[in-house]
């Protein structure tokens, strides 16, 4: 085992998309292989059903899938590769647990990183604030991220995606076929079949043969042919023939619209006629104003409305569009046009419009998430869920656990906890981090605990609560246990109720970027300021491995530590952070002190 640790090999990065799975190695510019996602993963979430599969079924699916990924596609030894799973924000828990089970038990990987996928494209922009729009197959997901903190409270999905375009395309083709009934040639018999039936010696036979056969079979109508199209072909038609129409406001010069009907050749002598209007018409479902479903621009508006007022202007300055559907020709200009109209009709967001800016990473939208994962995998000290943790029974990290274990607000604990007299209890966020006697040990504990706190979303909470968590430093454990339990339980609601704006304000403040005048500034401000200071000095404990986009800020302020995937305003709450100060929780604790 030691061998595997000493020879550091790049991680394997897997992005399980609804339509296509991308897999490859960290630090590379493109996924090594892109293949269709097995059906079960696709069918997980439909309009009505959230999860259809049991844990056992997931295990079967993933065992097959990951074996293929490791041995067939990537040809890597799983025992020496950490795995980064670009995790859907709402993926079902049994699925995640099945992933851990298969990877740890069957393939014996050393560690897994579950990273919320929507944060990853931000790495490519070099900014820690922005909006990520993932226009995928099943739906469009929109997530704002402010100073590395994903605002899950404003997470919005628009129920339009590639699948809906496919459906419209099928409808349109069928409708056309019914209006213009015609017969098409049957596909020519396969070469093999022809050869079988005609002996080599009599070439003439092959010419006579088709006639009687054609007479026997009923003619093939266009309707039949269109009806029998499979999803893969349909998707190919979409990619090859369809585009998103747009018309810039200059009266006809800049218009992406063609009046040309084209034929999509199916086999050698069959073709599906596609009307010019169909070619752009089917994509209109993405911007559909009928109100049947949320369209993309409405989704963005809704998301912005859920965001705190004071960060909206920052957010819109960095919009990243990813997902396969976004690679349709004309997608981005059309989205900009629709967005402009939507902003103009909304009086409250009107002023934001002029600040809107799209980032254009070099990489194609379909692989943006994966490439972000590849960057994440190249960094040091990122949070991980290791095999040892799995064996100890630490639960699979899951940001959703954060809301699940939410507890009612309780009065703040009294300042003097039994053990630390004169030092505020950890729950209040100001407990000095350095209680352990040996610096070496502490640092190691920090590193050790970073996995739990770090990288992925709310994984922190469940970890901190399970006694065997990742606290390898016994001091940490003791301290935690010594705390009156309310101190911990009150953090959750506190941080929930004062979501990011505060924290962001604090950070923004420290950087002089501003952006935090909401959140009841006057009273919060000094605290926020102080908070940052504490951060700057000790810090801490802020656990993690600052992955990412945030990395930049972290360098400066120190607190920012864990960047990426924290649920809104949730401080990462590892043991370590409990002591030092999860930003929000700490603030809350202090504010309570002040008021009393």
């Amino acid at each position: 085992m030691d061998y595997y640790w000493s020879v550091e090999k790049t991680c394997v990065v897997i992005d399980l998309g609804r339509a296509f799975t991308k897999c490859g190695f960290a630090t590379e510019a493109a996924p090594r292989h892109i293949f269709r996602t097995p059906e079960l993963i696709q069918e997980v979430k439909t309009d009505t059903v959230t999860s259809t599969a049991s844990f056992e079924r997931w295990v079967q699916v993933f065992e097959e899938l990951f074996k293929n990924v490791f041995f067939f596609y990537l040809q890597a030894n799983p025992k020496e590769r950490r795995v980064i799973i670009c995790d859907k924000v709402c993926s079902p828990r049994p699925m995640r647990e099945a992933i851990s089970k298969v990877l740890f038990e069957k393939l014996a990987v050393p560690a897994i990183h579950f990273v919320p996928d929507l944060l990853l494209p931000l790495y490519l922009t070099g900014l820690s604030t922005g909006i990520v729009i993932d226009c995928g197959y099943e739906e469009t997901r929109i997530l704002p991220i402010c100073e590395c903190v994903p605002l899950y409270s404003a997470f919005t999905t628009a129920r339009v995606g590639g699948r809906h375009v496919d459906e419209k395309l099928r409808e349109a083709l069928l409708a056309y076929a019914k209006e213009n009934p015609s017969n098409v040639k049957r596909p020519a018999k396969g070469w093999a079949g022809r050869r079988k039936s005609t002996p080599m010696s009599s070439p003439s036979a092959s010419q006579e043969e088709p006639t009687p056969e054609a007479a026997e079979e009923p003619p093939l109508t266009l309707t039949d042919m269109v009806g029998s199209l499979d999803d893969v072909t349909l998707e190919d038609i979409k990619m090859r023939c369809c585009y998103v129409r747009y018309r810039l406001a200059d009266g006809g010069k800049c218009v992406l619209e063609t009046s040309k009907d084209i034929k999509y050749p199916l086999h050698c002598d069959q073709a599906i006629p596609i009307k010019a209007a169909t070619r752009w018409g089917v994509c209109e479902v993405l911007w559909d104003e009928s109100g049947e479903r949320t369209n993309i621009q409405e989704g963005i508006i809704q998301m912005l409305e859920k965001c705190p007022v004071d960060i909206r202007k920052s957010l819109v300055q960095n919009i990243v569009v990813c997902g396969g559907t976004a690679s349709l020709p004309g997608f981005l200009p059309r989205m900009a046009l629709e967005l402009k109209m939507a902003f103009e009709s909304d009086s409250r967001l009107h002023h934001v419009c002029e600040r809107v800016e799209f980032s254009l990473p070099q990489f194609p939208p379909a692989s943006l998430i994966w490439v972000g994962g590849a960057i994440y995998g190249s960094m040091e000290g990122v949070a991980e869920y290791s095999a040892a943790q799995y064996q100890k029974g630490v639960k699979t990290p899951d940001w959703a656990a954060f809301t699940l274990v939410q507890q009612p607000v309780q009065p703040p604990p009294s300042a003097d906890s039994p053990t630390n007299i004169g030092v505020p209890p950890a729950g209040s966020g100001l407990a000095p981090p350095a209680l352990s006697s040996s610096p070496q040990k502490t640092s190691s504990s920090l590193l050790a605990s970073s996995p739990a706190g770090g990288g992925s979303g709310g994984l922190t909470l469940p970890m901190a609560e399970s006694p065997q968590g990742s606290n390898q430093d016994s001091n940490v454990v003791e301290e935690q246990e010594a705390l009156p339990s309310p101190s911990r339980s009150q953090e959750t609601p506190a941080s929930m109720s004062v979501p990011s704006p505060g924290a962001d304000a604090a950070k923004a403040d420290a950087e002089g970027v501003g952006g935090g005048e909401g959140a009841g500034a006057p009273s919060a401000q000094p605290e926020a300021g102080r908070d940052t200071d504490t951060g700057a000095e000790g810090t801490q404990a802020a656990p993690a491995a600052a992955p990412a986009p945030a990395a930049e800020g972290a360098g400066r302020t120190g607190t920012r530590s864990n960047i990426a995937p924290r649920p809104a305003g949730a401080p990462s709450r590892t043991s370590a952070s409990t002591r030092s100060s999860g930003a929000a929780a700490g603030r809350r604790g202090r504010r309570d002190d002040a008021t009393t």
Binding site: E357, D533, E537
Partner: protein
């Protein structure tokens, strides 16, 4: 990677059930196990276990190119991104390209299947090896690659810095306690020191000034100024994006031109695009050839005893191709089902099922058939009373037929490679095989083959379902090294669809 892709419902077949989860954890998560045809199973001769690919761990032994059959060490394979260093694939039809020389002596890649030629993308060279080098260079110099290297470098440095800083801070912790204390007691804060003076306490005016500052800043602030150093990212504002200009008109006109072409002639398909995703090619002319992906030779070990079950030779051209290949086909009797008449399968009808068994090992194989192990009813007589409490424990796999034949034991003769040649010439060695067969069960016997006939009856309530029954069989035999094996297999027969009541 070629596995049977399932059967049609009711297709007559014999399968082997493995990985049954009996609490031992072997097939954990699979409940009633999985069904495989014999061809897909392995036999671990160390622990005498028939196992499926799920009961084995895999390891990659060597890499080779499927086209030039050259063996590549793993370090080299990693360097070449698990692709062949010499063979290239057609970007259109994914067949292997050949290098062709034109009349003027220029070499280029050409596809023998779809007639694509690399001249179309200006990939030509004087000599074949220069051509390969040029293609390589093209891959290496891709702007995405350089961009990615820059990004990775930037973020890796940042993360290293943070890690270092965190370690440092951890060492400083003891000192930091003292720094915290004034902050908590409200005596002052470092904020003051930042804004100019020493450790002043907070003053309301400070605060108001700060807020004012912020308000003005907010109006002009651009988060782009905070872009990480070393990351150069293009962006376009919404206004610019939708502002008409001549340049845009031109690019749109170009796009329209490609949209007007016949799709399959010029527009890349989804598969073609995903192969070279970074090119973002909309048209075929944007595609570039990629190197041929390598294949691997893998060894498999038993999960229980961690000994090799399959071990290939390193070289792809060596014969025999395997050092060790314990596939179940060479150990476990093969079962051949005589397809029953589908009309005979009906509720309440007793029918007979015949199947042949071939012994592949060169010793006698003793087979004990626990024929009635999974019967729903204890016996025919008690059928009426027993129907209600047919416990699922006696039929955990959901079989729809009962086996009326009693449990029996038989011996199958040894396999002899010369058997067919010598047939009729030599007296069959009948001494080794007992001949006191029950002619109703073992209907025929010859050399290493026996013909078995069973009587089965569908359950009364199973009309319309698949007719299935299962029989656990205990086997004992000796392998080539005369090692004695005792193993069990679980045969699952599927006969067809049970038709409705026929009485």
């Amino acid at each position: 990677m070629i596995y049977s892709d399932g059967y049609a419902e009711g297709e007559p077949r014999v399968e082997f059930r493995t990985d049954v989860d009996d609490g031992g954890g072997q097939g954990a998560g699979t409940g009633t196990g999985r069904l495989f045809p014999l061809e897909e199973l392995y036999f671990c001769d160390a622990c005498s276990l028939v196992c499926s690919r799920y009961g084995l761990t895999e390891e990659i032994d060597s890499y080779y190119c499927p086209h030039c059959l050259e063996n590549m060490p793993s370090s080299e394979a990693m360097l070449y991104l698990n692709r062949c260093s010499k063979c290239f694939e057609c970007p259109i039809c994914f067949n292997t390209l050949t290098i062709t020389a034109a009349h003027d002596g220029k070499c280029f890649f050409s596809c023998q299947f779809c007639r694509w030629s690399s001249g179309e993308i200006q990939l030509e060279a004087e000599k074949p090896d220069m051509l390969v080098a040029a293609a390589f260079q093209k891959e290496r110099d891709s702007p995405h690659r350089t961009e990615m290297n820059k990004l990775v470098e930037t973020f890796r440095k940042a993360s290293q810095e943070i890690t270092r800083e965190r370690e440092l801070q951890a060492r400083m912790r003891r000192r930091s306690i003292t720094l915290f204390l004034p902050a908590t007691s409200g005596e002052g804060s470092k904020r003051g020191s930042k804004s100019g003076g020493g450790a002043h306490p907070w003053v309301v005016e400070d605060l108001e000034n700060m807020l004012k500052d912020k308000k003005t800043k907010l109006k002009t602030m651009s988060i782009r100024t905070t872009t990480k150093k070393g990351v150069r990212i293009e962006s376009i504002s919404l206004k610019d994006l939708i502002a008409p200009s001549d340049e845009k008109a031109r690019s749109i006109a170009e796009q329209l031109k490609s949209l007007d072409e016949t799709p399959t002639d010029t527009i890349a398909s989804l598969d073609q695009r995903t192969r070279c995703i970074n090119e973002e090619a909309h048209t075929l002319s944007g595609l570039i050839p990629s190197r041929k992906p390598l294949l691997t030779k893998r060894s498999r070990r038993c999960r229980q005893c961690t000994r090799y079950v399959v071990k290939p030779q390193i070289n792809p051209c060596s014969t025999p191709p395997f050092q060790k290949q314990n596939i179940a086909w060479l150990y476990v009797p093969r079962v051949l089902l005589v397809h029953p008449n589908p009309n005979e399968i009906g509720v309440g009808r007793v029918m007979s099922v015949s199947f042949a068994m071939y012994n592949p090992v060169e010793s006698n194989t003793t087979a004990r058939f626990a024929a009635d192990a999974y019967n729903r009813n204890i016996s025919e007589g008690e059928e009426e009373e027993d129907r209600d409490n047919n416990s699922s424990s006696s039929n955990p796999f959901g079989y729809t037929m009962d086996v009326l034949t009693e449990p029996f034991e038989t011996v199958i003769g040894p396999h002899n490679e010369l058997q067919d040649v010598h047939e009729g010439l030599i007296e069959e060695d009948s001494a080794a095989v007992p001949t006191d067969d029950n002619p109703e069960i073992i209907t025929e016997r010859k050399g290493n083959k026996i013909m078995v006939c069973l009587r089965v009856k569908p359950h009364d309530d199973s009309a319309g379902k698949e007719a299935t029954f299962g029989i656990p069989v205990e086997l004992s035999f000796k392998d080539r090294t005369m090692k004695e094996h005792n193993t069990h297999i679980h045969l699952v027969f599927t006969l067809g669809i049970i038709s409705g009541a026929s009485e």
